[in-house]
C-alpha cells in the first residue's frame, strides 16, 4: 500500500525541485551573460494589471461602503439560488416553495436588521 504513495511523493519532490530551479535560473545564469540585468521603467510596470493609478492610492473612503458591499453580496448570491429554483418552480411544487422560503427568510431577517440598524443610510 505504502509503495504507491512513494511514487507520488517522489513525483512531488521532482516537481518542487523543477519549479525551484526554473525560478532560480535567471540568478544562476547571470554570471554567464546569458541573462544580463538591464532594468528600465517599461519593464518595471505592472504588466496587464489594469490602469495605471493616478494620485496616491492610500486614500480614505467611507466605512459604510463595507455595509453596502456585504448586504449586496448576501442578496446577490441568494438571487442565484432563487433563479435556479424559479426556472424549475412548477416541478418542485409546494415543497419547493416551502424550502425556498426557509432558505430566504433568514436573509430577509438579516436585511431587515441591517435596515433597522441604519446600515443602509449613507452618513
Amino acid at each position: 500500500m505504502l509503495s504507491t504513495y512513494t511514487q507520488l511523493g517522489l513525483f512531488l519532490l521532482v516537481v518542487l525541485l523543477l519549479a525551484g530551479l526554473v525560478l532560480a535560473l535567471p540568478v544562476i545564469l547571470r554570471p554567464t551573460g546569458i541573462s544580463p540585468k538591464k532594468p528600465n521603467p517599461l519593464k518595471g510596470e505592472p504588466f496587464e494589471c489594469g490602469m495605471e493609478t493616478i494620485g496616491p492610492t492610500w486614500i480614505r473612503f467611507n466605512f459604510h461602503y463595507y455595509f453596502f458591499a456585504l448586504i449586496f453580496l448576501a442578496i446577490d448570491v441568494s438571487t442565484i439560488f432563487l433563479y435556479l429554483w424559479a426556472i424549475q418552480a412548477e416541478e418542485f411544487g409546494k415543497n419547493g416553495i416551502l424550502a425556498i422560503s426557509i432558505f430566504f427568510i433568514p436573509i430577509v431577517i438579516g436585511y431587515a436588521y441591517a435596515w433597522y440598524k441604519g446600515a443602509l443610510q449613507w452618513k
Binding site: M1, L2, Y5, I109, A112, Y113, Y116
Partner: protein, 461 residues
Amino acid sequence: MEIETILPELVLAAAATVSLFLSSRKALWLGVGGLTAAIVLVTLSWGEEISGGFLIRDNFSWFFNLIFLGSALLVLLASRLDLILREREYPALIIFSTIGMTLLSSSNDLVSIMLSLELTSIPLYVMAGLGRDKKSAEASLKYALLGILASAVLIFGMVFVFGFTGETALPKIAQAVSKAEVNPGLIAGLFLMIGGFGFKIAALPFHMWAPDVYEGAPTEVTTFLSTASKAAGLAVLVRILSAFEAPVWLDWGMVLAILSALGMTIGNLVAIHQTNIKRMLAYSGIAHTGYILIGVASLGMDGAALSNTIFYIVAFALSDMASFLSVIAISSNIGSDDIADYAGIARHSPLVALVISLGLISLAGIPLTAGFLAKLYIFTGALDSGLSWLVIVAIINTVISAYYYFKVIKVMWFDEPLKVNRVTVSFLLGLALLVSSAGILVMGIAPSLIMNALGQISLPF
C-alpha cells in the same frame, strides 16, 4: 426527518432573531426565556433517539445540549448590566453560538459538523471583541484569524477522510474505516482533524490563542469560551473518534495520550508564573483539557471511559464557571484582574471569596468537590486501560496545580487588603454563583445523581 428533531434549536433561533429588534433589557429576558424553554424541551426528550440524515439526537447529544444551554443561561444571567446595555446583540450572539453547539454535538455527518462548528465560532469571534478596547480587539482578531486557520486545517482533514472513504456520514465512515487497510491518507485526515478540534478545545500544541483571548475578551465571554465552547469541541471530537475505533494501525489513543501529557505539564508549569487571574485560569484550562484527553485516549479500551470523560467535562465546566463568574464579580468592583489586587478580598466580602475558593479547590481536585471525583474516575479508568505512565504524569501535575490554585486562595484569605472596597454582587450574578457552587458540591458529594444519567449514554458505533 421530523420537525421535533430540531425543535429546541428552532425555539432558540426564534428568540434570538426577535431579540435583535428589541431593547437591551427585553432582549436579555427574551434570551433567558428562550434558553429556559430549550432546556425544558431537551430535558423532556431525554431517552428519545431520533436520527435522520445529518443529525442524530441520542442521549449523548441531549446531555451535551444541557451543558451548553445551562452554561449559556448562567453566563447570560451573570453578565454585567453595562455590557448588556451597550451591546444589544449580545444575548442574540450567545444564543446563535449555543445553537451551533447543540447542533455540533448532534451532528452525524462531516458536512453538518463543519457548518455547525462555523455557526458556533463566528459569533464567538464577534463576542471576544465586545470589550471595545484595544485588548479586546486584539483578542477578537487573534481568535478570528487563528480560528479560520484551524477551520481550514479541519476541512483539509475532512477532505482526506472523504477522499479515502468516499463517505461523509459518520456511520458509513466507521464502516469504511473498519474494513480499510493501512492507509496514510486516513491517518493524515484524522490527525489534521484532531489538530482542528485541538484548537477549539485549546489542547496543547494548538493552545497559543487561549491566554491572549481569555485575557482580552470580556470575562463573560471568557466564561462561555472556557466552558461551553470547550465542551462542544470535546463532544464532537469524541463522536468523530468513535467512528475511527476499529483499526489497529490507527492508534489515535497514543497520540492523544502524548498530547494530554504535554498539555497537563506545560499548562500547569506556565500557569504558576501568571500574575493575571484570567491568564492563570486560561493555562489551567489548557491543563484540564489535558486531563480530559486522558479519558478520551482510553475511549477505545475502557467501557466506562465515556461516562468518566463526560463527568470530568461537567465538573470542569462547573468549577471553571464558578471561578470565572466570581472573577466577573470581583474584577468589576476592584477594576483589576491582577492576582496581587485580590489581596484580602475575603476580609470584606467573604461570600464571593468562598465561591471562587470553592471553584479553585474543585479545579485542584480536593475531596468533597466535583473536581476530586472527576479526577478519580478518569485516573482509575486510565489505569484499567493500561495508561499507567499517563496517570503518574497526571498525579504529579495535580500536585503542581494545587500550588498556584492555593496561592490565589492564600492571597485572598490571608494577605492584608489593599483597598477596602466591598464587592457588591447583583441578584442574578449571585444566583448564577449559587447554582454553580451548589453544582460543584452536589457532584462532589452525591455523584450517583449524575452518574446514573451518564450510564444511559452510549455512542452508536
